[in-house]
Symmetry: C4
Subunit: 374 residues, 4 copies
Amino acid sequence: MIGGRKDEHIRIASSSDVEVGDSLFDGVQLIHNALPEMDFNDVDSTIELFNKRLSFPFIIGALTGGTETAGRVNAVLAKAAEEFGIGMYVGSQRIALMKPETAWSFRVVKDNAPSALKIANLGAPQVSRLSDRDLVDWVNEAVDMINADAVAIHLNPAQELFQPEGEPWFSGVLSKLKLIRRVVNRPLIIKEVGNGVSMEVARMLNSIPPDAIDVAGHGGTSFIRIEAIRGGDVNEADVFRDWGIPTVLSICEVSSVYDGVIIASGGVRNGLDGAKAIALGADAFTMSRPMLVSALKGYEAVRELINKLMWEFKATMFLTGSRRVEDLKKTPVVANLPILLWLIQRGVKCKLTTNIYNQIKPIASVLMSNLFGE
Amino acid sequence: MIGGRKDEHIRIASSSDVEVGDSLFDGVQLIHNALPEMDFNDVDSTIELFNKRLSFPFIIGALTGGTETAGRVNAVLAKAAEEFGIGMYVGSQRIALMKPETAWSFRVVKDNAPSALKIANLGAPQVSRLSDRDLVDWVNEAVDMINADAVAIHLNPAQELFQPEGEPWFSGVLSKLKLIRRVVNRPLIIKEVGNGVSMEVARMLNSIPPDAIDVAGHGGTSFIRIEAIRGGDVNEADVFRDWGIPTVLSICEVSSVYDGVIIASGGVRNGLDGAKAIALGADAFTMSRPMLVSALKGYEAVRELINKLMWEFKATMFLTGSRRVEDLKKTPVVANLPILLWLIQRGVKCKLTTNIYNQIKPIASVLMSNLFGE
Amino acid sequence: MIGGRKDEHIRIASSSDVEVGDSLFDGVQLIHNALPEMDFNDVDSTIELFNKRLSFPFIIGALTGGTETAGRVNAVLAKAAEEFGIGMYVGSQRIALMKPETAWSFRVVKDNAPSALKIANLGAPQVSRLSDRDLVDWVNEAVDMINADAVAIHLNPAQELFQPEGEPWFSGVLSKLKLIRRVVNRPLIIKEVGNGVSMEVARMLNSIPPDAIDVAGHGGTSFIRIEAIRGGDVNEADVFRDWGIPTVLSICEVSSVYDGVIIASGGVRNGLDGAKAIALGADAFTMSRPMLVSALKGYEAVRELINKLMWEFKATMFLTGSRRVEDLKKTPVVANLPILLWLIQRGVKCKLTTNIYNQIKPIASVLMSNLFGE
Amino acid sequence: MIGGRKDEHIRIASSSDVEVGDSLFDGVQLIHNALPEMDFNDVDSTIELFNKRLSFPFIIGALTGGTETAGRVNAVLAKAAEEFGIGMYVGSQRIALMKPETAWSFRVVKDNAPSALKIANLGAPQVSRLSDRDLVDWVNEAVDMINADAVAIHLNPAQELFQPEGEPWFSGVLSKLKLIRRVVNRPLIIKEVGNGVSMEVARMLNSIPPDAIDVAGHGGTSFIRIEAIRGGDVNEADVFRDWGIPTVLSICEVSSVYDGVIIASGGVRNGLDGAKAIALGADAFTMSRPMLVSALKGYEAVRELINKLMWEFKATMFLTGSRRVEDLKKTPVVANLPILLWLIQRGVKCKLTTNIYNQIKPIASVLMSNLFGE
Ligand SMILES: Cc1cc2nc3c(=O)[nH]c(=O)nc-3n(C[C@H](O)[C@H](O)[C@H](O)COP(=O)(O)O)c2cc1C
Ligand SMILES: Cc1cc2nc3c(=O)[nH]c(=O)nc-3n(C[C@H](O)[C@H](O)[C@H](O)COP(=O)(O)O)c2cc1C
Ligand SMILES: Cc1cc2nc3c(=O)[nH]c(=O)nc-3n(C[C@H](O)[C@H](O)[C@H](O)COP(=O)(O)O)c2cc1C
Ligand SMILES: Cc1cc2nc3c(=O)[nH]c(=O)nc-3n(C[C@H](O)[C@H](O)[C@H](O)COP(=O)(O)O)c2cc1C
């Protein structure tokens, strides 16, 4: 029962301890600017994304759809997206394509958020088993269902593997993604669901290429754990509890090889984390589980959460002396050793490693003076 | 009510848990000298600063003024400054300029410490909104109020942002600082209030340039937390609990680009910390919260605290074989990894990174012999 | 009483806290592949080893023999080896050579696992005291006893030293090993028992050379502790609790100088650890204590454990996009600082340090542009 | 009352928590040798030192003298030194020189240990205040009192500073040490008492030069703490709790600039620590506080302790495949990051940093191929 599964996901994700690992945002530091030479009111946090203007670079993460509760959650979140001028993913729409009587639970999104940025959503394993023709139909239907501005396809091999009724089918996915890119008339986003995108995968995706990659890294909601709780065996999940690329590292890996839009997610938990993501190279950020928890409490809780997020994001802009989001991208960042060691071993060329390689210049000059005299 | 705020600051700072983060002094080690070739009595800890001689390089930090309690605190501290031959900042004098009936609470400083080094104090956001003429008047009045030997302007964007009635206005500050430098007849000190000064900010300040920078780094009293307690919401402060440049790092950052006097503050908690600050490149150090706590207990408590500080400072001089403060500046220092990683990533050229770059010479010689034969 | 000792080993190893230190597998990370471009069913985990095909690269570790209980354990494990198509070591066969009436407890292995890979086992100190002729007889008898496909000789200086009735005799071992290599008609495996093989030892072994080295590194079952518990004095073991080369490091050390088959053991505790071992350069892995604990519970417990191991191993292959074990060997790995520091100081050239040395190329190019202009 | 002080030292050192910091021996690893190619019986742990042969390179540390209890302790320890064929320091003999009626408490050492290596002991601050003639008399008297084979002068500026009745007088010490070296007919040892000897101090001592330096590093018994407990104020000691050079680092610092005998002490707590010290460059090691604690329990406790120490030392020789102490000196060592970072920043050229610099050769070759083509 796919509907039953959706409700179980909501129940488990909202009540159990399903956050695992460390997204590593605490290992990244922005540099305090004691002399911002601007007023807090001068902060302009808006960006443009997929032809929509956002009040700040935030998108409500992909969560759900297909059941009574899911429909309620979607409606509440969509209303907030509209009010705040932010973006919103929906959860996987397969259920609505297979059981059209559940499509209303997605349609509430376009009803409540007519002008907001909306993103349709389907899963790679399912996509990989469709004929080309059916695939195109599915995607177009999913887009129409919510009047989507973009389409996201999620890669979730770990989830499918740990899911009792999972479909760990990933052969042929790449060519199906290429097809979608060619025939579907919307920007294409490839996303993970909490285990992160590596630079090797980003390089493979470059052969499509998608308009955006949402890294959905490790350190926030863990689907390995959610599915293990559903299956009744948490031990297995414990062996793989550290499996995945922490979000900070995934941002760096992807940014080192991919030129399109980067969306940061997976354990982003406040506006400071979001600002760090952008300083590291992302263009926008999303939060999923905390949005779900708030949505189940009601509209006011969602408003409070988004207000807090936005204030924290703008506060960080002010305290780094960033007038616009573009300035935040250039603000200096410093990372701790575990982050740097990973990046160095992986050969990732990103803002953080450039920091270090630049510092080698003094070494070079010591060498030169040794080689050729003072 | 600005007076009410002052008293709240005193109450919260003296009783609640408002010290946050780590100034990183424990990550710095001085090297024990088993053969100092001097007697403890040979230690000479005096310095000269802003034309005053100090018995050791210590200044009582900027704290308060404007209320009954504040006046009492200022009187006690001033008396101790006079007795010990050390320096003293006063708190922000805006309140006395706006409500002249409170000026007595600052004037007690010059009454009780006629010969000690005294430093006037105003805040950047307020300064930035004054006309040039009013600004000059304000500063001169502040100086006269305590017969100040120097003027400090504090930069506090984080405090203003988190303060319920804050004024996060920092546009135009730099040009106002230049004006003060030009027309006011006293040495100019630019200070933070607990989030630290970066090398980028120090470089901007070089266009003034001030006579001294007081780094007021992160790791001691946190104004983000004080204001959050006042506002009744500590959660917000938790997101930003690590915001700021730890004091040790701020000393290194500033010393790498700025040639004037450097004052170390923010979580300095004993004479050993003070000696480490000086070994890292500072010229003097200050303590604020612990002075306040002692002053509220009475004069004897203040005397005990300063006696202890001075003994610890001299003990460190002896155990490093430093006859004079100048020698302490040259004593070797070693830092731990988090400190070094920050400095290397930031490209800071200071005593600590020079340590490391010097060690690269053996590498160079290995390279040379590989390149050109043994 | 050698039989009494065997039963004591079983009792202590299965009930007391005899796992000591850290094998360091948690310090190694494989990289999640979000786009494996294969189905889980495509995973082929089989390998060929010593002319036998294994369903996955797993061998039940060397444990016991010589007593009633030991015979029962051996029978259960052999049955599982046969069912799953995996390998199996037996424990040291000296007892059966000295007291032939106990040989049945080893023979059950060939009876229950006629087609599985079986490995005979003798200890170096005993071997070193035999005449050449007796040695050859002993080894051939041991092989025949279980119809072995290969012969393992274990090096256990720490165990012999801490064993109350131990025989810390290692002079002349190498020449005896060469003799075995020459005259015995089976592949030769040299193994430790939990303190690891260094690259210096692997280099010495190269003069034989053996067909395989089983690193049996530090971090799993500790014989120093088992023997200390038997001797009644655990304190002495505490001084040497960190003695030994952690398994991950031993794999890297041996792989840097030795070209034959590498078997990983010592604190391998799940299929993910096993997969990491193979990604680091091993060809197969073993587990001892957990197999013993399960065997004492009965056949079903052993089956469950092996099923779990195999699933975890295949899951890791899938999540790294490895179709065959050969692909897993090439999958990227990242290690933490303690691992890297050891390897760098030891001058080990392995997959992990190559990672780092490769990253030096950007440094070289910075140097070049400094030396010869942009 | 100097006698009262001696008894207080014994009481506090044997009962209170006076071990502070970390000698860093746990951060050093020797490499397990699985194939030692020797029997345990082949281990020869003897050395020759100051013309005496020791059964293993151990000296009972400088402890006490001058009181009833001290005399008893000295007698017990001397008896053990004689039985085991090890060395023994006595405590500072000043008390006996000033109050000849207490000299018996030192003389018991020569009575009980006629053939053992015995070391006389005086403090630098006292020495520095004597006329040249008195100094020579004192030293000769001290030597005669115990028929000493060598003379130790201890440098203890931190102890004198924290001692309520301390004499922090170190001007002129060096020239007095030179005098002793010239006129006294015994090998001269310069030792600290628990805060370590830096390479700068070792370089200064080279102008004498002494026959041995006993590093007496930080991480074992802390005299700052003992004196603070005596003075009734432990807080002050807390500020300086990390003051001093950890023993491992002090061995490396001294060995990098000094060619004579190096004695390791300060927090050495078992034979494995002792063996590590020797692998790092020391020639012998000592233990003080644990010897005192055992001596107060009686002769059997001392014998047990020394037996244990010797077994551990020989066990380590066996497990590293070292037949003689000379071999142990060449055994490989690996250190953790805090140790390496200190040594690199300090520019210490020792066995540990050579490890690392040697590993740079592959870097050089990468550079070369980049510079001059593959
Ligand atoms: C209850 C729940 C349902 C989810 N369903 C989907 C989904 O249908 N499609 C998808 O792409 N991601 C889905 N996700 C994954 C999230 O979009 C996100 O990648 C992941 O939760 C990590 O972000 P977080 O740490 O902010 O929760 C779901 C997450 C949760 C908690
Ligand atoms: C109660 C209180 C009031 C303060 N008021 C001022 C002020 O008016 N002006 C100023 O420049 N700094 C002010 N400060 C900041 C201190 O001068 C100092 O920078 C900061 O407290 C960090 O030092 P500490 O960790 O030693 O307390 C105040 C601090 C405290 C605790
Ligand atoms: C009870 C017991 C008996 C063992 N007996 C032997 C043995 O006879 N021969 C041998 O080579 N190794 C023997 N070992 C060592 C194991 O083969 C293995 O190297 C060690 O236990 C580390 O692996 P583990 O951490 O998976 O237990 C024995 C281990 C245990 C626990
Ligand atoms: C009770 C006591 C008395 C000591 N007296 C002396 C002394 O008189 N002369 C001396 O050179 N060192 C003296 N020491 C210092 C020791 O020789 C040694 O350097 C120090 O205790 C560190 O070693 P440990 O950690 O093994 O105790 C004394 C130590 C103790 C515990």
